[in-house]
């Protein structure tokens, strides 16, 4: 209460400054007149009385000043004056302010930008009500050394969970996919998510139009239903409000539109065009395939541990009912229920944290450099400071001024950094890695602005304080004369440079390790060659279009034949999934005759149905045996090709695999191995190649691989489309891309990290070079006299140059040693980003050290040269 009144008084005295002053003047006059009257009463004449009164009153201005002081408005006044002065300095001393502002802008801007990403990806809660209650529902499984952390559920398991789980308020499963929409203009491939009715209920976002799915939509024979995304509704239906109840042909089946989701609705990290109601029919084909992701909303008061325990119980019930207990036991199936946010974020959290750390280090370097500049300026103004101190200015007043100057610099730098970050984030949202989740909604929000402000103020206070403390502003009047640098300040500057070199080295090592990982990755022979020459295209022939599977096989073989005849096409083939097409992968346990013990479940292998010619199109080498023939394909012969690693696992020599028999576990028909193909890095170049089994076969959905040096051109695409439409004009094309696009996508996370870490390292290098240069240039300037005398006494320029080069070298070596030690301590943090290189790679450490050394020597050679060729006469005369 009282404090607020005091505040009001002070504000009044501040804003009614002139009135308060007049008031004071009048008050003192009253007193003064009274003194005069008193003096006159004792018999003095008027002028004499005035003089006596003045003497008695004492220094009137001082009294007034003290009165003002006691109102404490002077602080605010001083502050405004200091700010104005600081801004003037920044404007009129570009030699000081431009480098300072530039480095602050870069340093703070980079930090704000990366914070914007971290904020969008990691900090901001998922856009659903009570997001902390949402969980992803998976199982984990382990088979020998292979651990699957996120093993999806099957529809059968979904039914069991739905029936028995007690910890879920809402629960559903979903699968992403693609489908063809036909009947309205050009056939179109859309991204779909098939889901049970619990998914949208769990997420809790109401439909914009219409309704959510209901359990009735999932029954056998029910009308198929679809919910549109806002964007698709706008694009395809022009935002028509009367769209509900209409039918659309999706994969040639009529779906009724029952809803439209709101514009802001995000489905985890996907952007599907339509949501399809998943039919859940016990015993339907495919209901045992484990390919559904689960999502649930926990009941109030239920934690993750409780939910996991609950599902252990449900799994036991399910195992007993289906007789798969042994299977669950062997594969160590356990529930894995975790926060939904983990599913959305994936593994970028680690990358972002590393980058945030790296950029924070860069900002520290910037602060060190600016502190040097501010300190140098304070140094130059020592005479002025000392004079002011002698005239009665307090230490706090002068230090305050330096601090305010620093804060003004930092605030300006922060403002410029904010605009830089804004531009950077725009760029990132449009050109950034597509694998970065939630990055589309990266923006500068209130939290980012707060962060920017904190960044600016903290760095301003940091380098301001350093400058104040280190420039020795403990003003004594005698400093006005021989203002020279004390040993203390030289030590401070040296410490800065050592720290800069150390940080730059840490960042260089980080960037170097990533470069090495890239080299190692591109050295991997992925099992396909020249992916940029492989055009991929996906076709799906729905049952509603061609009912007879034989006919489907004929159509696809016909299309393949036509592709192969296109001029410039070297080879063509198709498969259920191409390498790196993770979303189409399929796996099954494979038994080997005479090797797999009876009653035991053999390991899971990736299974593909392929056409002859696929290996040639991909460039996959056959190590032994032969490729499939069209005869194998057309007459359904029971033959197989296995990957090299699988062949070696059972028979040690690939050749020995030939003529052996294998089959999908649980089937009766054996297939004869006719060939062994080289390993293919199916799951990404940084993942070990899985065991692969190829069968000849045709499915309704296949991906074509067409090798041509015209891959990716519009011309080739037109010819391909023409060939397909010559066979059937209603077939839509999907996933039109080159294999190289996919290949690059798997590298995206690392290249994003490399680019940013590279920028950080380059900035750190530059800053430390400036630092080394600054220290030596200063030392040369300080020692001009000494150098001149040495030269006059006959010292060789070489000796003098060596003198300064040595100083630079010593600083760099100190910094380098600290940097190497810190890099060793920090690099294990980036292990998840590394490939084919250990965190302690001696080569990278050596190269980074050498680079820093060369850079530092280059930076120190300029001032050293200047010293060596100093004209002693001029220098001595100049003193």
């Amino acid at each position: 209460m009282r404090f607020s009144r005091v505040l009001i008084h002070r504000l009044q005295s501040l804003f009614r400054r002139s009135r308060a002053d007049a008031d004071l003047q009048r008050e003192i006059e009253v007193h003064f007149e009274q003194l005069v009257k008193e003096a006159m009463a004792s018999g003095a004449g008027e002028s004499e009385a005035r003089m006596m009164a003045r003497r008695q009153f004492g220094p009137m201005e001082k009294t007034k000043e003290e009165c003002r002081d006691s109102r404490r408005v002077n602080h605010i006044d001083d502050f405004m004056r200091d700010v104005r002065y600081a801004l003037r300095t920044i404007r009129t001393k570009p030699g000081f302010s431009v480098p300072a502002l530039l480095s602050l802008t870069l340093g703070i801007g980079a930090n704000i930008a990366i914070f914007g990403v971290v904020n969008a990806v990691l900090i901001r809660p998922l856009p659903y009500p009570q997001p902390e209650k949402l969980v992803g529902v998976f199982n984990s499984a382990a088979y020998s050394s292979l651990v699957i952390k996120e093993w999806p559920l099957s529809l059968e398991m979904y039914a069991a969970y739905k029936e028995n789980a007690r910890s879920f308020e809402e629960f559903g499963v979903w699968t992403p996919g693609t489908a063809a929409v036909t009947g309205r203009g050009e056939p179109e491939e859309v991204a779909t998510v098939a889901m049970t009715h619990g998914v949208l209920r769990a997420l809790g976002v109401r439909a914009y139009l219409g309704r959510w799915f209901s359990s009735a939509d999932e029954l056998r024979g029910a009308q198929k239903t679809v919910i549109l995304s806002y964007n698709y509704w706008q694009r395809r239906f022009g935002g028509d409000e009367h769209v509900l109840g209409r039918l659309v042909l999706i994969d040639f089946v009529a779906y009724q539109i029952v809803g439209v989701m709101p514009r802001k609705f995000e489905f985890l990290n996907l952007a599907p065009d339509v949501f399809l109601a998943q039919s859940v029919v016990a015993g339907a084909p495919g209901s045992q395939d484990a390919d559904c992701s689960g999502v649930a909303r926990l009941k109030p008061g239920i934690g993750l541990a409780q939910a996991n325990r609950d599902i252990v119980r449900v799994l036991r019930i399910w195992g007993a009912k289906t007789g798969l207990e042994q299977y669950l036991e062997q594969l160590h199936v356990k529930p894995n229920i975790h926060s939904l946010k983990e599913d959305v974020i994936g593994d970028v959290g680690a990358v972002l944290k590393i980058l945030m750390g790296a950029l924070a280090l860069v900002l520290l370097l910037v602060c060190a450099n600016v502190a040097n500049l501010v300190q140098a300026r304070a140094q130059a103004r020592r005479g002025e400071f000392a004079t002011r101190a002698a005239l009665g200015a307090g230490w706090g007043r002068i230090a305050g001024q330096v601090l305010i100057e620093s804060l003004a610099l930092a605030t300006l730098g922060g403002a410029a950094g904010l605009s830089l970050a804004y531009a950077g984030l725009r760029l990132l949202a449009t050109h950034g890695p597509a694998t970065l989740p939630r990055v589309a909604d990266t923006s500068i929000d209130a939290l980012s602005i707060l962060f920017a402000l904190a960044c600016s103020l903290l760095s301003g206070i940091l380098f301001g304080l350093v400058a104040v403390l280190k420039s020795g502003l403990n003003i004594r009047p005698q400093m006005a004369r021989g203002a020279s640098q004390s040993a203390d300040q030289v030590r401070a500057q040296n410490a800065f440079v050592i720290a800069q070199v150390a940080v730059a080295l840490v960042l260089l090592v980080g960037a170097g390790l990533l470069v090495r990982s890239f080299i190692a990755l591109s050295a991997v022979r992925p099992g396909f060659t020249h992916p940029e020459q492989i055009q991929t295209i996906r076709l799906f022939i729905p049952e509603a279009q061609i009912r007879d599977p034989e006919r489907v096989a004929q159509v696809e073989a016909e299309i393949l034949h036509k592709f192969a005849a296109i001029p410039g096409v070297a080879a063509a083939g198709f498969a259920t999934a191409l390498p790196l097409e993770l979303e189409y992968h399929n796996g099954n346990p494979i038994s080997v005759e005479g090797k797999t013990p009876l009653g035991q479940i053999p390991p899971n292998r990736t299974i593909k149905s392929i056409s002859p010619g696929l290996f040639a199109a991909l460039g996959t080498r056959l190590i032994a045996g032969r490729d499939f023939t069209s005869n194998d394909l057309m007459s359904n012969r029971h033959v197989a090709i296995v990957s090299e690693n699988m062949a070696r696992e059972y028979w040690s020599k690939p050749r020995d695999a030939l003529a052996k028999r294998i089959r999908i576990n649980g089937e009766s028909q054996w297939s004869v191995v006719v060939g062994v193909a080289e390993n293919v890095y199916e799951d990404g170049v940084d993942q070990p190649p899985p065991g692969l089994v190829y069968f000849p076969g045709v499915r309704r959905g296949v991906a074509f691989a067409i090798r041509s040096n015209r891959a990716g051109t519009q011309g080739l695409l037109k010819e391909i489309t023409a060939e397909i439409h010559a066979v059937d004009p209603s077939l839509p094309l999907a996933q039109v891309r080159t294999l190289n696009d996919l290949y690059r996508l798997t590298m995206a996370r690392r290249s994003f990290a490399l680019v940013l870490l590279g920028i950080a390292a380059a900035m750190a290098m530059t800053l430390s070079m400036i630092g080394v240069y600054g220290v030596l240039a200063y030392a040369v300037a300080q020692r001009r006299k000494e150098i001149s005398i040495r030269v006059a006494m006959g010292a060789e320029p070489r000796t003098i140059r060596a003198l300064f080069l040595r100083q630079g070298l010593i600083l760099t070596c100190f910094g380098g040693a600290i940097g190497l030690a810190s890099a060793r301590g920090l690099s294990p943090w980036m292990a998840s980003l590394l490939f084919g290189v250990k965190p302690f790679d001696p080569l990278i450490y050596g190269v980074a050290g050498a680079v820093i050394l060369v850079a530092a020597l280059t930076a120190s050679s300029i001032p050293a040269r200047r010293a060596a060729f100093l004209n002693p006469i001029e220098a001595l005369r100049g003193e």
Partner: protein
């Protein structure tokens, strides 16, 4: 940047305690003591600056005299603290003068200052008699 009034007043009270002996010479009049004198002087009726100075002088039998150089800053400070209220009023001086009176907070403060003064002076008294 601002020290809240409460903290300032604590510092002042301790200033008195720390230094201990109070000299009756006007130049050495301690800040805390001056506050007490001003508060006490206007406790009964509102006064302007001139009258405050006069009354302190008269009531102390000419022992204490407060210079203008310390009186006015003190008045302004006390007003700033919210202990005094000031008004321009017609006065006995033949022209309007700035008249100070105690606020409710000011009365409480006077109470506190008196207490601490009593403690201090009895302590000094005791010491003088014992020694």
């Amino acid at each position: 940047m601002f020290l809240p009034g409460a903290i300032l007043s604590i510092i002042m009270v301790y200033n008195v305690d720390d230094r201990g002996v109070i000299m009756p010479k006007p130049s050495d009049l301690l800040q805390g003591t001056l506050d007490l004198l001003i508060l006490k002087t206007i406790a009964t009726d509102p006064l302007h600056g001139w009258a405050i100075a006069k009354r302190i002088q008269v009531l102390s039998g000419d022992v204490l005299s407060v210079g203008q150089g310390s009186l006015y800053p003190a008045l302004h400070r006390l007003e700033q603290q919210g202990w005094l209220r000031a008004e321009w009023k017609d006065s006995d001086l033949g022209r309007p003068a700035k008249v100070y009176s105690l606020t409710r907070e000011g009365r409480k403060q006077l109470e506190r200052e008196l207490n601490s003064w009593n403690r201090l002076s009895s302590a000094v008294q005791l010491l003088v008699e014992m020694a």
